[in-house]
Symmetry: C2
Subunit: 389 residues, 2 copies
């Protein structure tokens, strides 16, 4: 087994690009990643691609071959769909292929086109990631699902809308200067508290936006990086995946995400690390409460104790564990199929030192990415480390 | 790297089950496979699941966790979508995980629910596997696409509708006695020739039906099989994948499928075999012409020479290379996401000797499965061999 290196990364702007297809978005991100890696297209052996709602948004399934073709690659290509963790699972399988010698160079990532639909249709399309029989037909969509989780959290552990507002404020502050981010502006706690209700207790600024965009990474084997003299100073040293029951009603707790713990334990175990070793994290904050649940689920905090982490400055850019220095899904945006890959792009830049927030973590050597699908029925965790190039 | 063993297999009936969900179908196939393997649910480490059109047919994406949950498994689960090759790619990634020691026991397969929609909507849903921008908007659906391929074949190499009719006649004859098959009855060449036009030159009996169903296999490492004394006498000794441009218009030839050759070369190369070593094959005959193109693409025949294979009795049950002893997609049925997995189920039974057509190939030791997506823009090939249990 070999360490897997990140040789190059690429992102489109995350935002409203309703006129662009997913293949077009992915071609841009992939081209950027290949250029960043300094690798010719001929070297790429396969594409591992995440997309969630192409069938609904573009009348387009079978996007693997389209993603490869748009990027000028004549190689096998596979589409993964695990709701909002679609590119997390794509990255995970690609990592395992490279570390086991199945391939030396793979292009991974994902893309999503969402703003070409009316918002109501996008929300309806997103609901396809929930249990149609037992949740969606009862009227549940994801804002409602996460509102139930937030309510359950408040009832069991306490906490307030103001605590959650600090998560949004933090992530918006982190997005300032991120040229790829959908919202590159700060908000105040009052802005968040005063924003319109989406599903009580969650308001507009507790929710990530609807976003178009793509992410891509070039993963290479350690041997390939050395043989070709690549400047690949970031390694993926751990990958983990967890699964849970799809419908909230079937869970033991509405405010715990044990699958995230399973994924984190596996990824950290592979890396030979624990949560205390992580310098910087990108976690799946589709709603503010999701960031809280992620940090607790993975063991960074005990249950009930992460609610004040942002408020207390523990997860802000100056805290001991900066979380979502990209801006997170909340402010950077959430093009569903691209998000998992984009988290690794951000971590790679933070570890290389060419991120817009690199000055917040100049000595960061270890990063963790947490990408969740649905109400965390699917989740991947990856550990990235700075190594000798 | 270890050989991967098939410890157990399961299928639902392939046919019209409009009232059953994909999760329900998959739970039946998976339970059968686990019972066949004699393995407890607790031993399963992950689910690799293929589904193509759940979003359209059931308003249900994110089916990985649902598939696991329905089967009573509390493990990570990933959904693969590569059109009609969805479970082919799921099997492939699972095989690589097991042979590289990433897991010892994985449950793989797929499911599709299709007959709950009106046929026109199913055809429209299937078209999502073609290029929406350059094919579907111009009016192309899959019967038309394969009709273009058949026309191009006839123009370049000759051949006739009657040659293709023999493929349908052969596969229907093979399905007799297959309790899982949608159509367990013989047809005549005249029946095929006289059937209604679908898209000239293809008629109704050149096309596979619309089908509900599921397939499942339990894959285990060689070490696990030995340690647990499993009766697992079939090994997956090769896996390959190919990719091509999505739209027919971008291909150099309309009547060649080079991606199938890439996949076959890879799978056979891993197994250390060539086409002459294959005793029995299951190939993707979504239309009769597809079986011809598959046999040529993989190198069993030169281009232009497989058209008369069925007519000449070379691929019938008494021929030197029996093809689609299951009945194929044509007569057994084609529940899209289940098909790739179901091909390996059939081969496993043929190699074990408990297939309804085992008497046709009593000495078969090597089988090959070819599963294609779209107009063969995605394709997997697997090689299975009988080994010491």
């Amino acid at each position: 087994m070999t360490n897997v290196r990140v040789a190059g990364v690429g992102l489109t702007h995350f935002g409203e690009h309703p006129e662009r297809t997913t293949r077009d978005l992915f071609a841009e991100a992939g081209t950027t990643a290949l250029d960043d890696a300094g690798i010719d297209r001929d070297a790429v052996e396969g594409v591992y691609y995440g997309n969630f709602m192409g069938e609904v948004a573009e009348h387009q399934g079978h996007q693997g071959p389209l993603a490869a073709e748009a990027l000028g690659l004549d190689v096998p290509a596979t589409r993964f769909e695990s709701a909002c963790a679609s590119s997390g699972v794509a990255v995970r399988e690609a990592v395992k292929n490279v570390r086991n010698g199945e391939a030396d160079v793979l292009l991974v990532g994902g893309a999503e086109r969402m703003t070409n639909l009316p918002t109501s249709e996008t929300t309806e399309g997103l609901a396809i990631a929930a249990d149609d029989l037992y949740e969606v037909r009862a009227g549940l969509t994801f804002p409602g699902a996460y509102a139930l989780m937030a309510d359950a959290y408040f009832q069991e552990f306490g906490g307030s809308r103001e605590d959650l507002a600090h998560v949004a404020v933090k992530n918006h502050a982190n997005a300032v200067g991120n040229e790829h981010a959908q919202y590159q502006k700060e908000i105040s706690v009052e802005d968040a508290l005063d924003s319109p209700t989406v599903a009580e207790p969650l308001h507009l600024f507790d929710a990530c936006p609807i976003t178009d965009g793509a992410s891509a990474l070039v993963l290479v084997s350690e041997d390939y990086a050395e043989e070709h003299g690549l400047d690949a100073s970031v390694a993926v040293t751990g990958t983990g995946q967890g699964g849970d029951k799809m419908a909230l009603q079937d869970r033991e707790s509405l405010c715990r995400t044990p699958a995230a713990g399973d994924a984190a334990d596996e990824a950290l175990g592979e890396a030979g690390l624990d949560t205390g070793d992580i310098d910087v994290a990108e976690v799946h904050d589709c709603f503010t409460i999701a960031e809280v649940l992620a940090l607790e689920g993975m063991g960074f905090y005990e249950s009930g104790e992460a609610i004040a982490a942002a408020r207390n400055g523990e997860t802000t850019r100056d805290g001991h564990l900066p979380v979502n220095l990209s801006g997170g899904l909340k402010a950077k945006g959430h093009p569903v199929g691209a998000t998992g890959g984009s988290q690794l792009v951000e971590l790679t830049k933070l570890l290389r030192g060419d991120h817009h927030n690199s000055d917040a973590v100049p000595d960061a050597g270890v990063g963790l990415a947490h990408n969740a699908g649905g109400t965390v029925a699917s989740v991947t965790v990856h550990v990235l480390e700075e190594v000798e190039a």
